[in-house]
């Protein structure tokens, strides 16, 4: 075979292979969506039915039925937003200072932050639970926001700091020579340049926060219950009702996917900032 034909064949094969893999990755998601619009009788059928008339009964049940999930959805979104704002605000300030202060002095703190990233929230859970209980904040949204922000802060600081490291000190100096105060230079000059990193950190925090499960599990009851917890309780009471589960899961998936698709290029640049030299 001529080399050119060989190259084309290789290219086609690679495309086919990659597409298959990507399809396999999307398959579970497609199954979930499929189940969420399938009438219950077809879900429990022994074999897989490909052609059927879709139904909105599951979604309808979730919002209008005996246990509406509107509250859970609302809680989830509000909590994620607040966590993202808090983490970004404090995190970016800290990240900038970490980035600019001499390495030796901040080494201990960086070390502590990496350590907290390695430890599951479970390890901190017990004392945090006792503290929240003492403050009488069990079953409030604020409790989840507080605890989840601690969890997200090190991650946010790490990403943003790596991004700030790429910005040369000369920029700071130029801004301050032109008359900005330290904080002014941060706001007017550094933030705009670091926007991709900030967006990446924000997007990641938001998506982690939407699915936040553990702290919501131990700290909430009924008023501040989030959608992930609500879904899991479906798993026990509606043991056989996969339609509702699937519908609820799809609803929980949508914000994350939208954010991800819109902010894709920011994600990559933010995550790889530390590695590209």
């Amino acid at each position: 075979m001529k080399p050119r034909q060989k190259a084309i064949l290789l290219d086609r094969l690679i495309f086919l292979g990659c597409s298959l893999v990507v399809l396999m990755f999307l398959f579970p998601v497609l199954c979930l969506v499929n189940i969420s619009i399938k009438p219950t009788e077809l879900i429990t059928a022994p074999t897989f039915k490909i052609f059927f008339t879709p139904t909105g009964q599951h979604y309808n049940y979730l919002f209008v039925g005996p246990q509406p999930i509107s509250l859970f959805l609302f809680n989830t979104m509000i909590i994620s937003l607040q966590v993202t704002i808090v983490s970004l605000f404090f995190g970016s300030l800290a990240a900038w200072a970490f980035s600019r202060i001499a390495h030796r002095r901040t080494q201990g703190l960086m070390y502590w932050m990496v350590t907290t990233r390695l430890v599951p929230p479970v390890a901190f859970a017990i004392p945090l639970y006792l503290v929240i209980q003492m403050l009488n904040m069990i079953d409030t949204r604020a409790a989840v926001v507080l605890t989840h922000s601690i969890y997200c802060l090190p991650f946010v600081i790490w990403i943003i700091k790596n991004y700030f490291d790429e910005i040369p000190l000369e920029l700071d100096e130029a801004a301050q020579i032109d008359g900005c105060s330290v904080i002014g230079s941060l706001l007017r000059v550094i933030y705009p340049v670091a926007k991709p990193g900030l967006v990446a950190a924000g997007v990641l925090t938001m998506s982690i926060s939407i699915g936040e499960f553990f702290f919501a599990l131990i700290l909430t009851g009924t008023a501040a219950k989030t959608l992930p917890i609500g879904l899991i309780s479906f798993l026990s009471t509606h043991m056989l009702d996969w339609g509702k589960m699937a519908a609820g899961s799809v609803i929980l998936m949508i914000p994350g996917i939208i954010i991800g698709l819109c902010a894709q290029k920011y994600l990559v640049s933010g995550l790889t900032a530390g590695a590209v030299k």
Partner: protein, 305 residues
């Protein structure tokens, strides 16, 4: 003579006090909410303390730790955690590198496929776990249903088989996070200048040589980033295990994180659970020490060597 400054000499940042002022709020929050619980956890680990029988709290020095080390369940959990992390990271790396290389070759079509790959990454862990709960389900799971359609009637029930349940749970982690690996590696691959490939073609290098001498050195910092992030997340994975198996069947999928949860929030043995947490903290800090050393070593050597 004017004071000369070498271009790459470490800079001494100025107005250090103001910078500290900016860090303080975040640091105070972070420290108070992580150091305090850690100290409290250490305190609790020295007691025999069951939350349901609070009055019977006794100070027992290192009694809990002795109990842990002699408890085979702890070592099982440790083993499961290590296995889970290794399976998960290895699979993500293998699939991730292969896919990234392929997508890189495909140019624009590769970019579109990569965009589609973002989807599993953005799905909350819980939803991923629920999705795979569905997939593994022998009655309603589409894989089993399709198998039955094709005449295969004994599709294995993965989560009930103690031998491969851990692999099954790890598969969820792999499914959700391989996209991360692919995206990061793809970004790294795109950063390789074209003339490297051209000179390799002129020199007649084989594909393996191209990989070993050009691609791998360039990708090294990205690979380290990936292994760090994914390893850390796999080490403390909890959500999938809680949703899919609750540590079962038997103790086949009980990792350290779930073990702590079961002891502390299931049996309310706060003393015992706290000592487990202390051990995990020690392991984590030892690991993070290594991680920081490795990442700064590679930072200095740079990627263009």
């Amino acid at each position: 003579m004017a004071k000369e400054r070498k271009v790459n000499a470490p800079r001494k940042p100025w107005r250090t006090k103001k910078y500290w002022l900016l860090i303080m709020p975040a640091v105070i929050i972070l420290l108070s909410l992580t150091v305090y619980p850690s100290l409290y956890t250490i305190y609790a680990s020295l007691h025999d303390w069951n939350l349901t029988m609070a009055e019977s709290r006794r100070f027992i020095w290192l009694g809990n730790f002795i109990k842990i080390v002699s408890n085979s369940l702890f070592w099982t959990a440790m083993k499961n955690t290590v296995l889970f992390t290794v399976y998960s990271v290895a699979a993500q790396l293998l699939i991730g590198i292969t896919l990234a290389l392929g997508l890189n070759k495909l140019g624009r079509r590769g970019a579109i496929l990569a965009t589609l790959l973002v989807i599993p990454m953005m799905i909350p862990e819980v939803v991923a776990a629920i999705t795979w709960q569905l997939m593994y389900n022998p009655s309603y799971g589409p894989p089993s249903q399709i198998a039955r359609l094709l005449g295969i009637y004994n599709f294995p029930v993965i989560l009930a088989d103690a031998r491969i349940a851990l692999v099954g749970v790890a598969a969820v982690d792999v499914w959700r996070n391989t996209s991360f690996v692919v995206l990061v590696l793809l970004a790294g691959l795109r950063a390789i200048p074209a003339y490297y490939y051209e000179s390799a073609a002129i020199e007649g290098a084989s594909a393996w040589q191209v990989f070993r001498c050009i691609i791998f050195p360039f990708l090294r910092p990205f690979l380290i980033t990936v292994i760090l992030f994914r390893g850390a997340d796999a080490f403390k994975a909890f959500d999938a295990i809680y949703v899919l198996t609750r540590g079962g069947p038997g103790n086949a999928t009980e990792t350290l994180a779930y073990h702590i949860f079961r002891q502390g929030f299931g049996f309310f043995e706060i003393g015992y659970a706290s000592s487990l947490s202390v051990i995990m903290l020690f392991v984590a800090s030892w690991l993070s020490n290594g991680i920081l050393k490795v990442s700064t070593r590679f930072d200095q050597s740079g990627s263009g060597s």
